[in-house]
Each structure stands twice: as structure tokens, then as C-alpha cells.
């Protein structure tokens, strides 16, 4: 057998050293790139108590914690005042403001209501909703794509909630982000209009999933648009079997009585 041609697997360098007890390398066998070297040095540095330098912590902290705490506080505040808060969410233009205008002109004459309305800019919606018998606060969010519980807490302090039974919160027109932010509402209402596709619940499932009530709006123009109501209702039921569905039109008045009686169940003393 000829061993002369055998090459060693690794060159052992002169400065290579091994700790006699732990077997850990005490000298680098080769020069490490600076960041890696720093990392390994940090890992090998043990504190006098023998604690390893890299420490780990197991946590299980919900990241929306702050919003959730504020939302629970809002919920308690609303409950204590005996009012039901509804968070209205939809894409821009689904008819939140129009439905609220109509609701304030009919329903709010007998049951005291208040409105908090969120938009990125302008107080146009706030002005549209202003009625002598309804306190309204406009929240402009700037660039933020949703309302959060803190904004609601501040806005709710700014209006007179005395005697108010129903507080409508008109969220920023957006079907994505508001799904993740609990405002402390009692009921989450998601609006789907017939000018959108019947498959919108399938395309934006999180928000529909979180709905207590889904309103199919603008049903008066459904036929003209070729919008298939049954298909839309079927899709909503697939995504949100827990939600109540009301089909209505703020313009023709169809379905409004059902919406009002739903509101009445939330404010039995109204």
C-alpha cells in the first residue's frame, strides 16, 4: 500500500487550538470575515456565571395588543353607556354614507343615533351626515388606511353621547386593512354593492369572515347591471355562514325596514 500520495483532508494550521475541557476552538483555524467572526466570538463569550451569551425568550404576545386593549376599553365604555356601536366597512363607493343619510333621516328620528366617520381627507362625509338631531364627528386619518381603536376613543369623547342608542362608525373605504382592527364595536357590518362583483366576498374573505351583518346595497339597480343577487348571497354565505344578510336599497327603500328592525333589536329601549 502506498500512502505517500494521500493528501490530508484539512490542513491543520499552526495557530489552531482546542480548549482541553470543552473541545471548543480557542484560536481561529482560519481568518473569518468580520461579521461572522464577531458573531462567533459573541456566541463563545460566556458570562462569569456560565450563562451563554445568546439568550432567548419565548413569548406569545399578540402584536395588535395595544389596539385590542383600547378596543376592549371602547367596548366597555359603549356598553356602560347603553349604546350599540356598529362598524361599517366596505370598498369606497359601496354606499355607506348614502345608507347612513337615509337611516339618520328615518330611523334616527325615533332612536337617538350618533356618527363617527373616517376618511383619508376632507370632511365631506361629515358634512353630508350632519343633522340637527345627530352628533357627528369626522376623523381624517391622513395616510392611514383604516380606523383604529385609539381614533375611535378620541372621537367618541368629542361628541355628546347622552341618550345615544346607536353609534354608527363609518370606516375608511377599504376592504383589506379594517379587517385587522377591532374598534370595540358590537356589530361589524360589511357592505357589498351591486356595482361590485358577485365574487367580492371570495376575493376579500377576511373582512367578510369577520362580519356579523352583511348588507347587499343598491339592489334597485341590480337588474340593470346584470348583477346576480342569488349568486352574491350564495358567495356571502359560503364565506360568512355566521353573518346575517340584508338586501336593501337606500334609494328605493327596499329592505330598509328589515335594516331598521335589526337596529331596533340592538337598541331595545330606543
Amino acid at each position: 500500500m502506498n500512502n505517500e500520495a494521500a493528501t490530508p483532508i484539512a490542513e491543520i494550521q499552526d495557530n489552531y487550538g482546542v480548549h482541553p475541557l470543552s473541545g471548543a476552538a480557542t484560536k481561529p483555524a482560519r481568518t473569518l470575515s468580520a461579521p461572522l467572526s464577531a458573531e462567533i466570538n459573541a456566541a463563545l463569550t460566556a458570562s462569569p456565571e456560565g450563562e451563554v451569551a445568546v439568550r432567548s425568550l419565548d413569548l406569545r404576545i399578540p402584536l395588535l395588543e395595544k389596539n385590542d386593549i383600547l378596543a376592549e376599553r371602547n367596548r366597555g365604555y359603549f356598553l356602560g353607556r347603553g349604546l350599540a356601536a356598529l362598524n361599517l366597512v366596505s370598498s369606497p363607493g359601496a354606499g355607506k354614507t348614502t345608507l347612513l343619510e337615509r337611516t339618520l333621516d328615518d330611523f334616527a328620528l325615533h332612536t337617538k343615533c350618533a356618527v363617527l366617520v373616517g376618511d383619508l381627507e376632507t370632511d365631506n362625509d361629515g358634512n353630508r351626515l350632519r343633522r340637527t338631531h345627530v352628533p357627528v364627528a369626522q376623523i381624517t386619518t391622513g395616510t392611514v388606511c383604516h380606523l383604529d381603536a385609539g381614533m375611535i376613543a378620541r372621537a367618541a369623547q368629542s361628541i355628546d353621547l347622552n341618550g345615544v342608542k346607536i353609534l354608527f362608525i363609518e370606516n375608511v373605504g377599504n376592504l383589506v386593512c379594517p379587517a385587522s382592527f377591532d374598534l370595540g364595536e358590537q356589530v361589524r357590518v360589511v357592505l357589498l354593492s351591486t356595482t361590485e362583483g358577485e365574487d367580492k366576498p371570495l376575493k376579500y374573505p377576511p373582512i367578510f369572515k369577520s362580519a356579523n351583518l352583511v348588507l347587499l346595497t343598491k339592489v334597485d339597480v341590480a337588474d340593470a347591471l346584470g348583477f346576480k343577487r342569488e349568486l352574491a348571497v350564495h358567495n356571502i354565505k359560503r364565506i360568512a355562514p355566521q353573518a346575517r344578510i340584508i338586501e336593501l336599497s337606500a334609494r328605493s327603500g327596499e329592505g330598509l325596514e328589515e335594516w331598521y328592525s335589526y337596529l331596533r333589536t340592538l337598541a331595545p329601549l330606543g
Partner: protein, 117 residues
């Protein structure tokens, strides 16, 4: 338009910094988040947000790991849980065929683990 992932990452980083100060850490090495498949939070946007938010902090350059939590749904009729599909939000019980809305897991947005040096 601000992504909501940015705000979520800001609160995550806020917590990480708090623990880092409390534990006298020099550097944050690893951050693990648990994100439910149905949380509405996009892991890629979270990674982007992490790079932006961690810049100049003790967590800059830390390894970000995102564990996904699969959806689990409770069936009222069968009194048992079944796995929600990855395909979306329609949950049909494999045993009785009922459509179910009681999502028990899959919505998590959590800071689950931290390592410092």
C-alpha cells in the same frame, strides 16, 4: 397608502426593544413571529417592513423568522375541529358537510420568540 404590516412591525419592534433594554442585550439576533394563514397579514410585506423599521436599532440585521399557523375551524354539529384549507375562507366540515364560521386558529399575529446577545 401605508401598509398595515408596517404598523404591526412597529409594535413588534417596540416590544423587541423593550425586552432588549430589560435584558441588557447588545444586539438582537433572531426574531420569530407567528402569523396565521388567515390573519390578513402578508409575510413578504412584514419582511420588508422589518428591514425598514429595524434600521438603526439593536435589531438591525437580526434574522427574522415567520412561522405560519394553519387555520383550524370548529364544527358546532360535530363538536370537533378540522383543518381549514389554504385556499381561503370557505370551511366545510369534512364529516357532516356543514359550512362553519368558528375559526379557532389561523388569525394569529404574534411575537413568539426572541434571541439576543
Amino acid at each position: 397608502m401605508i401598509m398595515h404590516e408596517l404598523g404591526i412591525m412597529e409594535s413588534a419592534l417596540g416590544l423587541v426593544q423593550r425586552y432588549a433594554v430589560e435584558k441588557h442585550a447588545r444586539h438582537v439576533e433572531r426574531v420569530v413571529l407567528r402569523i396565521g394563514t388567515l390573519s390578513g397579514v402578508d409575510p413578504e410585506s412584514l419582511r420588508f417592513a422589518f428591514d425598514v423599521v429595524s434600521r438603526g436599532t439593536t435589531a438591525e440585521g437580526a434574522q427574522l423568522e415567520i412561522e405560519t399557523v394553519p387555520a383550524s375551524v370548529y364544527c358546532q354539529s360535530c363538536k370537533s375541529e378540522f383543518a381549514g384549507t389554504d385556499r381561503g375562507f370557505i370551511f366545510k366540515c369534512p364529516d357532516c358537510g356543514d359550512l362553519c364560521g368558528d375559526l379557532r386558529r389561523g388569525r394569529e399575529i404574534e411575537l413568539s420568540h426572541l434571541e439576543f446577545s
